[in-house]
Symmetry: none
Subunit: 279 residues, 3 copies
Amino acid sequence: MNTPSTPTDRSAYALGLTCLCHIEATRSPSLIDALADVSPDLGRLAIRFVYGEIYQRPHLSYHDRQLATVAVLAVLGNARPQLKFHIAAALNVGCSAAKIVELMTHLLVYAGFPTALNGVFAAKEVFDERQLHFTPTTTPSCPGDARYQAGMDALSRIDGHAGEAVMASLKGIAPDLGRFIVEFGFGEIYTRPVLELLERELITVAALAALGTATPQLRVHIHGLLNVGGTREQMLELAIHVAAYAGFPAAINATLAAREVFSERDAGGGDGDPSAPSG
Amino acid sequence: MNTPSTPTDRSAYALGLTCLCHIEATRSPSLIDALADVSPDLGRLAIRFVYGEIYQRPHLSYHDRQLATVAVLAVLGNARPQLKFHIAAALNVGCSAAKIVELMTHLLVYAGFPTALNGVFAAKEVFDERQLHFTPTTTPSCPGDARYQAGMDALSRIDGHAGEAVMASLKGIAPDLGRFIVEFGFGEIYTRPVLELLERELITVAALAALGTATPQLRVHIHGLLNVGGTREQMLELAIHVAAYAGFPAAINATLAAREVFSERDAGGGDGDPSAPSG
Amino acid sequence: MNTPSTPTDRSAYALGLTCLCHIEATRSPSLIDALADVSPDLGRLAIRFVYGEIYQRPHLSYHDRQLATVAVLAVLGNARPQLKFHIAAALNVGCSAAKIVELMTHLLVYAGFPTALNGVFAAKEVFDERQLHFTPTTTPSCPGDARYQAGMDALSRIDGHAGEAVMASLKGIAPDLGRFIVEFGFGEIYTRPVLELLERELITVAALAALGTATPQLRVHIHGLLNVGGTREQMLELAIHVAAYAGFPAAINATLAAREVFSERDAGGGDGDPSAPSG
């Protein structure tokens, strides 16, 4: 078996250090200091592997990687210091404050209001610490009577037949839940500005891959990512990225879900592709 | 598909605001202030959707909704401020302090001791902040030699054949684990006072739906909820309620599990219904 | 900054491949095949980093690493294929079937019954696939009236003052919960055979580090690990190990918790060391 030529460990560490300095906007990464007197090996491994290797890979920009990282840490909810670190890093690589707040708002669909709230409060702490004066704008809701149709339009565009199949399966059992998904999830949230549809799907896929508890929805949104302009390479890279923040099993399972989705699309079936014939 | 007529957004927001003021026992919800300068839209969406729409729905009282919310936030363990907020709200809608402490004790069966401990300590902070002088009572354990039988009686009553099938399947691999479930889970915990059996099953179903990692047990306890007097409408409403605190994927997956359980019961098979003929 | 000399990537990959073949007991790791046509890079990264680097480090044997990995995957509950893979790998490196079943039983204290049940059923599937005829033995419970004292003895031995402080803090709010922890958690579970105390603490620390939602308990059990003979080096290595299965943030936070515990012990204060003067 060939192992592709990769940077040597020494250069991977150097690349990682440069990357970490860049995203933290510092000359002396806080991670090194924090671990120096207790576990320098862990710091070295993180720098070499996460920043020297994963972050150096193609198909996802630092900007997109930070969106994914922030989404993963927000939904896992178990590592607040790192969530704040990566919100700051997202700002450092060019994400606007508005985009980070919108990302948290987006997550309420997939992880509920407490996750969204805690994410917003973590962001606010970061903004305050940087004396970043953020003035939120508000987006009026789509009017109530037009919201269902706007939601169905968004659902069809994003999830295609995969989303419609979920709606159909809910009809016989919980039609109101289906209506909330359409009106609220798609009609309200997906139609909001600030995040592009492709960014919303990157965030959704990263979050569901990290949670690992919603595989059917992960598959629907892998279709969604591809339907709104994402590539298969981006999808697979996203899975690798998730390994750093949610572990390898999450990465492997997301990759295997992606393989199934790719096969469905190659078979041309009534999968998630809105241009495919109805199944 | 017809979308049922829904309140206009303005009136849904107004209803939500009234509801939130009621459960927080305030004239000025803290959520609005906390989000005003960072994401007023998130506050508006939460008030309109969670409190103006979900909380207004039938089949679950505010009291039961607060039990479910506290259970979800306790087992997810990732949103301590909201956990404290909803413990206080539970008190405000008429849950006793004893019931909240008992809820946390109940959760140790489904989420382990750390979850129960952290839940109890959060409750204690809320009680102390309100200067609520809570005097715990203790319940003597069922005597050791009677506990297995008491547990089997409770197990049969609650989970019916679904629970008995779990016990049988453990015999060949981990009989002591099966014994602990019967003696400790059912003999000790389910036989305790303060929470009704129906409340215990509402809590259990909400917690397992939010976790998303224990689908077989979720199905057993959907049977359990129906066996101790819960209705299918309550079950489906509980799934919708969970969407607010653990996201839509958790709600969808719980709803689809409920559909399977309902089908099993309609087929009259050896399902979880203790009045059904043995499978 | 010096980067310690590390194996080159090529040799790390070769070491990782040898390691993975060993723990999977195969000449052709399934991971490579599974990912070959979808994301060979992910397979290569996992082999080089997890098996070529982390598994090659000192202070934890393959046996102990497999116990930790199985504990992490069981409590996260979101990666069943990997859980089965690592149960099989644990058998391959010399863990007995009885030890794996006992590990799952132990986890009910920290993650609840569904986790323990699902872990046991995954183990049973692995045993059946290998035609490993496992005959469980049962351990009689400590008699009911002696259980509290046995539990307090175990608690003092393992958690020291840290555990006693938890019990004291429960007295005013949930004394029955405190009693359950003593009687059931310590009196029943920790006194069972098959797993050594040190193994129980390795499992506990790995599980709590992965969950990331029970920091107070993680700190108590870092004390516990050291109190029953574990070393600081093992603790720090365990944190690094967790990075592979639960991500770097979990590893970093566990390491920082360890640093605090080490400082407490060095200060000789009323920490978790049973031989230290009471605080």
